[in-house]
Amino acid sequence: MKTFVTFLPRALVIFVIFMFFVMPFIVVALSAFADQWSGTVLPSSYTFKWFVNLKPADWYALRMSLYVAAEVAFLATAISVWLALTIQSVGGKVGKVMDALAMFPISVPSVVLGLAVLITYSSRPFDLSSSWQIVVLGQTALVLPFAYRIIAAGLQQEITSLKDAAKTLGAPPVMVLREVTLPMLGPAIRTSIAFTMAISLGELGVTMMVYPPGFETVPIDVINKVNRGFYYDASSIALILLAISLTVLTLIAYLRLDFWRGSKRRELAK
């Protein structure tokens, strides 16, 4: 009886985890290689034809996704290092206001952020509506809180005291930045780049709102294919994106950063 009491909840949880969280990965992988998968429990046979079938437009979307993700990750991380260092040295009320501003986009729906960027940058004086840089701009605003939180958590107390020590010993600020702060921030910078790249690769709300005519990222490509019923083509390009994105994120798992909690950042803000 007792074994049954502990066995049942465990079995149920494992079943739910499998059906909910493992199946999506399996389904994307299977359907990308399925010759035909309709009316059968498993695909009837397997093939590479959907990958061979991918059009130049799909590869263009993949290339653009990677360009945008790389640019967004670099910009958001560089801005976050600048922001976090400034906020740490300023402190007080000004620091708190800047901290709140940097975190603000986390509470903004992606579609709303996209609309704000679209309204602002699709007419003069700052008309970006025909350039894909408008996508980069919108996504950078979207991922900024995540990057900033990771970098701020990396700027822990020990670094501050090391910095103070270097300053007391007469090192000029540029030297302190180059020799102490940036090397110590290395892991946080890596994590921030990996995490913001992963978000950018799967981003849909902001991108759909602002993308210029003729431009495409993989998520937009997949949505278009799904809505036209081209399921297998959608699966194959989605699987490639997923593989890239998971490789990037494995870095995070390896670095073991608890990325949706901001407890360290709050300690810093005090």
Binding site: V94, P105, S107, V111, A141, G205, M209, P219, W260
Partner: protein
């Protein structure tokens, strides 16, 4: 001399941050958004908002959004808390990696989760076919995918991991000696759960639940894949007002309404997270 030079640098640095980061990314876009929302026929006015709350069409959109939000949020919370509780009370070999895997799951774009459901729960999907074969049925037993049922299922799947992690974190933070002490003093398991574990874990669990509601409210990709033409929520409506009807003012009005809702939810989340951090 060097002190005043320092303050000049400091001010220049702040000015540069304001001009090159905050203004272009946050302040200017959201100021424009507010400007569009409060403009009607070229004049400053709240007419757009009055129109939103009096028109039956837009009120139906608001109601549909809230309905999906409540159903998905509650179901995801229940599922997530249950999974976390089972893992905490009956840990098993491999439960650690399973939790890790759920964390990795959030890298899976939400619209892809919705898409994979078509292969599983669609009329010709594998789950339906399996059930048909097992029970010898003529028709697909599960037929709910395109519409509110599918949207809710996809949102529950996608947002449950956001509940599991915070719940598990706040359970794991409880001092085991407090539980041990209560047990030694003769408290029954139910009483330990009610009097020792729950009070300490509540704030953290609520933080996770609120975060889940916030993310569910803002979900867009799942709706694009699974919602029927009649099922329109605020994000979808904002998108179609702006890109199909090309009515930026109407889109901005709805965006500001959404923004108010999600900022409020975020502030509640911060409050609970703060309490959980101090407990």
């Amino acid at each position: 001399m060097s002190a005043s030079k320092n303050t000049v640098w400091r001010k220049l640095n702040l000015l540069a941050l304001l001009l090159f980061v905050f203004a272009p990314l946050i302040l200017y876009p959201f100021a424009s958004l507010l400007g569009y929302a409060f403009t009607f026929n070229g004049k400053i006015s709240v007419e757009g908002f009055v129109g939103f709350f009096t028109s039956p069409t837009t009120r139906a959109i608001l109601e549909a959004s809230l309905k999906i939000l409540v159903i998905s949020g509650v179901l995801a919370s229940l599922t997530g808390i249950t999974i976390a509780a089972v893992i905490y009370f009956f840990p098993f070999k491999g439960s650690g990696p399973l939790v890790r895997f759920m964390e990795l799951f959030v890298s899976f774009p939400s619209f892809l989760v919705a898409f994979t459901l078509i292969f599983q729960y669609g009329d010709e999907g594998s789950v339906n076919i399996l059930l048909k074969e097992i029970f010898g049925l003529e028709q697909a037993p599960l037929s709910f995918l395109f519409g509110i049922g599918g949207v809710v299922l996809a949102q529950v799947i996608y947002y449950t991991p956001f509940i599991v992690r915070p719940t598990l974190n706040s359970l794991l933070k409880i001092d085991p000696s407090a539980i041990e002490a209560a047990k030694t003093l003769g408290a029954a398991p139910g009483m330990v759960a009610r009097e020792v574990i729950l009070p300490q874990a509540t704030a953290g669990i609520f933080a996770g639940v609120i975060l889940c509601f916030l993310l569910t409210l803002n979900e867009f990709g799942i709706l694009l894949v699974l919602a029927s033409a009649q099922l329109v929520t605020l994000p979808v409506s904002i998108y179609s007002e702006a890109t199909i009807n090309l009515d930026l003012n109407a889109a901005a009005v709805q965006a500001v309404i959404m923004l108010v809702m999600s900022v409020c939810l975020y502030l509640v989340y911060r409050w609970f997270a703060h309490r959980a951090g101090e407990a």
